[in-house]
Amino acid sequence: MTAICIANNKGGVGKTTTAVNLAAGLARLNYRVLLVDVDGQANATYALTGRVHPRPSLYDVLVGERKLETLVSKTNEDQVWIVPGDERLQNVDVELAARPGREWRLAKALHGQEFDYIILDTPPSLGLLTQNALAASHRVLIPISLTEFSLIGMDKLEATIVELRDQLDLVDLEVAGVVATFYEETNTARDTWGVLEKKYEGHMLETRIPKNLDLEKAHRENESVLSFAPNSSGGKAYMALAREVKRLVPAHPRPYDRRRHTQSA
C-alpha cells in the first residue's frame, strides 16, 4: 500500500482531474486503488460516482467516530474505490482545532486498508485537511499549470511539507514529482517549465498533461478520461502518468500503516 497525496495550495491546477485519472490509470495497470476525497468541494466524488455531497462521508470519519471502511464504495471505474467527501469537510479546520492528534486522524482511519495505492485529493489550501492528507501519505504529487501565478504558491507548499515532515516526524514524506497540467506549447509554458526544472531538478515528471476538452467531458459523464476517451491526448497522457508514477512510487506490498512505513524507511 502506497499513499500519494495530490496537493497544491493553488486552485484550478488540475488536482482533482489528476487524482481521478491517475487512480483510473493505476487501476488499468492492475492495481486496486482507493481514492480519498479530502476536498470539501467533493468534485472527485462527483467525477467518479455522479453523487453530489453524499452522506455519510469522510467528514463523519474525521470529526465523528465512523469507521472509514464503512464508507468505501465502488466507483464507475473498475478497480477504483472511493471514500467520498462532502461540503461539511470545509468545517473540519474549526471542528478539529482543539483535538489532540488532529493531523493524524486520516492516517489512523486508513490503517489496515489493503489497496495497492491510495490517492488523496486535497483542497486548494494548506489547512488541516491537507495536513491530514500529507500526514497520511508517503509521497506528494504536485500538479501545476504552467503560469506565473502557479510559481508563487509553490514555495509555501514546499515550506508546509518540510514543516510537517519535521513536526510529525514524517521522515519518508517526499515529493514524488511535479506534473505539468493544462500544458500548451507556448512561450510562457516553456519559460515556466524551465524555471521549475531548475528549481525542482529531477522532480519534474516527464509526462505533461495537455489542455484537452475530453478531460472536462469525462467529468461531465462521471468517469475517467481513460474510459470516456482513452485515445484522446488527455487519456494517453494520464495513462503515461500512471506508468511513470508506478515506476517512481511502487506499490508497497503491506497493508496501510503510515507509522510502520515511516519507521521502516
Binding site: Y46, T49, V52, K74, N76, E77, K217, E221, N222, F228
Partner: protein, 218 residues
C-alpha cells in the same frame, strides 16, 4: 477581451461552423442577403451572420465591438474584401459553405437571447438543423446529483426494477450519465459480448440495461 482570448473564441466558432455545414450555409446566406434596415454603422445588428462569443455586452449597456464571419477562399482576408462583406447594403452571391474566419476591424453584434427551449437556433426554418445540434451538443444544467435512494456505489438496476417498476427504473436511469450507466453494465454483467464497453451513447446503454432487466424479470 484579450486578443488571445478573442482569437481562441473565434477559432472555436469557426470549428463549430466547420462541424455544422448547414449552420454555416445559413449564416452565409444571411450574410449575403440585403438587410432592410441597417444600423447607423452600416451593419445589420443581430443578423444571423454576427456571432457574439460570450455573454452579450449589450445587456450590460456597453458598446459592442462587432465581427463578421467571412468565408475563406472568396477574396481572402484583405480589408477591402472584408469591408465589402460587412456592407449589408451591397448584396453578394450566396457563398458556398466553407471554413469561416473573422474579418479584421469589424464588430460583433449582440446575439439575441436563446428561446425558451434553449436551442441556439431559431424555430421554423432550419429547425431540423437545430434539433440535430441539440442532440449533439451538451446542455449544461444545475447538478443535484444522483437520487439518494440509489445509495452508495454502483446502482443495482434489478433492485430498482423490483422496487419501482419499469417506469421507475427508466426514470432513475435517465438521471445517470454515461459513466454510471457503463458501470452498471459492467458490474452486473449485462453485456457479456462486450459490445457496449466503449459506447458513449447513454441512450443505448439505458436501453441495454432496461432490456436485460426485463429479460431477467420474465
Amino acid at each position: 477581451m484579450a486578443p488571445e482570448a478573442l482569437a481562441r473564441t473565434l477559432r472555436a466558432v469557426a470549428a463549430e461552423l466547420e462541424r455544422d455545414p448547414a449552420l454555416a450555409r445559413r449564416i452565409a446566406e444571411a450574410l449575403a442577403a440585403p438587410t432592410p434596415d441597417p444600423s447607423p454603422t452600416g451593419e445589420a445588428e443581430g443578423s444571423a451572420g454576427n456571432l457574439t462569443p460570450g455573454p452579450s455586452p449589450a445587456r450590460r449597456g456597453e458598446s459592442t465591438p462587432t465581427v463578421s464571419l467571412v468565408p475563406l477562399g472568396r477574396g481572402g482576408l484583405s480589408s477591402k474584401r472584408d469591408n465589402q462583406d460587412t456592407d449589408a447594403s451591397a448584396p453578394t452571391p450566396a457563398p458556398a459553405p466553407a471554413p469561416l474566419r473573422r474579418a479584421r476591424g469589424t464588430r460583433v453584434a449582440p446575439r439575441p437571447p436563446l428561446p425558451e427551449n434553449g436551442s441556439p437556433l431559431p424555430a421554423g426554418e432550419g429547425s431540423e438543423v437545430g434539433a440535430a445540434r441539440v442532440n449533439r451538443s451538451f446542455r449544461p444544467r444545475l447538478i443535484t446529483g444522483a437520487s439518494p435512494e440509489l445509495g452508495a456505489g454502483i446502482p443495482d438496476p434489478f433492485a430498482l426494477y423490483a422496487e419501482k417498476g419499469e417506469q421507475g427504473l427508466r426514470a432513475a436511469l435517465a438521471e445517470l450519465r454515461t459513466g454510471s450507466l457503463r458501470a452498471i453494465v459492467r458490474e452486473h454483467r449485462l453485456d457479456p459480448a462486450g459490445r457496449l464497453a466503449g459506447n458513449n451513447d447513454a441512450d443505448k446503454l439505458r436501453a441495454a440495461i432496461v432490456k436485460a432487466v426485463l429479460r431477467a424479470a420474465r
